[in-house]
């Protein structure tokens, strides 16, 4: 294969994309009628089923970065791509075992509701809101810059145009249709993506007698046994484990993931939704592994790398070789849709931290009128969307690969420890919670700057000050230790007194 049409205007792809946008905007206007209260705007009126929420949750994780990025990583580095995706999956059982049900039973719209349940509202809510906003901003920035680059690569559309297009459509979803529209966009996209990836994987396997072993053997023939074994990713196992822990516990601290648990009616549906989500995500990672191997064998590493150095086009090149223009167009449009759905969820989570936690919870001390809070939520959505567009354009061409890892490290360090301790530990105090969140956020940020990912790759120093690429292991441990230590030396009688009531509610729900 010598030529690819990737990067040129693809009529099929653009038609599919416009079809997707048209349908989702119709859903958005339908949802607008049901987004008039805060409960509807933040949580889709708690009317989403466990199965639907499972699809939406999995959609948040099946971002363009994981669909195109992990398939590309497998295509170029073989087995390392599998090690990487395993780290992404194992966070989901942890969400289920430790967080999902108490979160649903104790909170209203955000995870800060839960952390602040029996602690002093003002300091805890404001710190937790900062943790949410910082996590969301890094995640959002990574998605926006990735989107611009990807769309340029896919359609030859100028970077800035792509960013503005994504930003505008995404703002429309959230602003007009709230959580209900955002959830349905995510469900539709997850279905299209899972369907497309399944067809492509089966198509690949069909060339190998529907036997996975034959595909593996072909890869071994072409690239030697090294392709089937760990390579650079586990050279420093502590590094891999640190990244793994950030992914694992970060999932339990991502505001846009946690917020989805409020869209279902009760803890039982919340629980079920994680089971479905884990199944979909696991299935999806197995598919991307097959796609990566398919691209390596059918398309060839050199061709994949010639189109994009990072291998991001591997799955799409495979689709083009096997299914021609039509299938390529379909998958490219789905990749575009994926970006829209993920940034919409992130923006809504960021906006709720501003309007529900900071404005209603801190500024108005929980006494605001519903309409005022809703108005602030919409203003925040618009502002955050505009900020995302501006940052996306400012960071054009920057090396931002570390930002998703950083977002997870912050979530695992600033958000998760305080959330877990506030649910489980009677003697956890307000000052302990605030200290833990600040430590987690600060350590994650400082250590990532000193790590090889920023100090060497971005700032071009020769030697990193902090040896690990992801600070998760140390920043999360630090946040737990500081939270425990400070709580031992402070007292919070009100928090201790409310512990029994909180525990009862975390098990049996609101009464």
């Amino acid at each position: 294969m010598n030529s690819t049409s990737i990067g040129q205007v693809n009529v099929v792809s653009i038609s599919f994309f416009f079809l997707f946008v048209a349908i989702t905007l119709m859903i958005t206007f339908w949802a607008a009628k049901k987004s008039k209260t805060t409960s509807e705007f933040y949580a889709a009126g708690h009317g989403i089923t466990g199965f639907q929420n499972g699809l939406a949750l999995s959609g948040d994780f099946m971002s363009a970065a994981s669909f195109l990025g992990i398939a590309g990583m497998v295509a170029l580095n073989g087995y390392d791509g599998l090690i990487y995706s395993v780290g992404w999956l194992v966070g989901w059982p942890v969400v289920l075992f430790l967080i999902a049900e108490p979160l649903r039973n104790l909170g209203k719209y955000t995870y800060a509701d839960v952390v602040a349940y029996r602690l002093s509202k003002k300091p805890v809510r404001s710190t937790a809101a900062v943790g949410s906003i910082v996590t969301v901003l890094f995640y959002l920035l990574a998605q926006m810059v990735g989107a611009g680059t990807l769309i340029k690569l896919l359609f030859g559309l100028p970077y800035e145009v792509a960013i503005i297009l994504v930003g505008t459509i995404m703002i429309a979803y959230v602003l007009i249709g709230g959580m209900l529209a955002t959830t349905w966009v995510q469900i539709i996209k997850a279905t299209l993506l899972l369907g497309g990836a399944t067809v492509l994987a089966l198509w690949t396997l069909a060339h190998y007698g529907f036997h996975f072993g034959n595909l593996i053997a072909a890869a071994e023939n072409k690239y030697t046994i090294d392709f089937l074994l760990p390579g650079g990713l586990v050279k420093n196992p502590l590094d891999t484990i640190s990244l793994g822990l950030a992914l694992m516990f970060g999932t339990s601290g991502l505001p846009h993931i946690l917020m989805r648990f409020y869209t279902v009616p009760n803890a039982k549906e919340a629980r079920k939704s994680v089971f479905y989500a884990t199944g979909f995500i696991g299935f999806f990672y197995i598919l991307t592994f097959i796609l990566g191997f398919g691209a390596a064998v059918v398309v060839g590493k050199d061709v994949v790398q010639a189109v994009d150095k990072g291998g991001n086009m591997a799955a799409l090149l495979l689709a083009e070789v096997l299914g021609g223009q039509l299938f390529l167009g379909y998958l490219a449009a789905v990749a575009f849709a994926t970006i829209l759905a993920v940034v919409a969820g992130l923006t809504l989570a960021g906006a709720s931290a501003v309007s529900h936690d900071l404005y209603a919870g801190v500024f108005r001390r929980g006494e605001s009128k519903e309409n005022d809070e809703l108005r602030v939520a919409k203003i925040s959505t618009l502002s955050l969307g505009v900020i995302a567009i501006i940052l996306g354009i400012l960071f054009k061409g920057q090396n931002i690969a570390f930002m998703v890892g950083l977002a997870f490290a912050i979530a695992a360090s600033a958000n998760f420890p305080a959330l877990l301790m506030s649910i489980l530990w009677k003697k956890f105090t307000t000052i302990g919670a605030v200290a833990s969140m600040i430590t987690g956020l600060g350590l994650a940020l400082i250590l990532i700057v000193f790590s090889p990912t920023v100090w060497v790759d971005v700032l071009h120093h020769s030697q990193a000050i902090f040896p690990l690429k992801n600070p998760g292991l140390f920043s999360m441990t630090g946040a737990f230790l500081v939270g425990i230590f400070v709580s031992f030396f402070t007292h919070d009688p009100q928090a201790e007194e409310k512990f029994n009531e909180e525990t009862v509610r975390s098990c049996i729900g609101e009464r």
């Binding site: 599998l82 059982p93 593996i216 884990t278 592994f289 009862v504």
Partner: protein, 104 residues
């Protein structure tokens, strides 16, 4: 009618303590299990390349079985928890709620 609707009383009741502890123990065991499996998997990847190259069936190596295995085990543990929670745990919760006179 003696209804224990005060959260303090519910918390102290034996039924509640039992279900609360069961859930806590099970969720900790399962969390340690899955984190442990992941760490062991990474350590095998890092230190036993030879073993990972062993062919198990039709060209597929042990390494690939392990990687996909961890993904599937992750999903199965969520299934185990769900089975327990949907049957045993929810039943105990309903019992506690009945004993405090909640409408079910």
């Amino acid at each position: 009618m003696n209804k224990k609707s005060n959260p303090q009383d519910i918390f102290q009741s034996q039924e509640f303590q039992e279900l609360f502890h069961k859930r806590k123990i099970l969720s900790f065991i399962l969390t340690f299990f899955i984190v442990g499996i992941y760490v062991v998997y990474i350590l095998i990847d890092a230190f036993d390349r030879q073993a990972l190259a062993i062919k198990i069936s039709g060209g597929i190596t042990l390494g690939i079985y392990l990687g996909i295995g961890v993904i599937i085990i992750g999903w199965i543990t969520t299934g185990v928890y769900i089975l327990w929670a949907n049957n045993k745990y929810d039943a105990s919760i309903n019992q506690v709620r009945k004993s405090i006179g909640d409408d079910l």
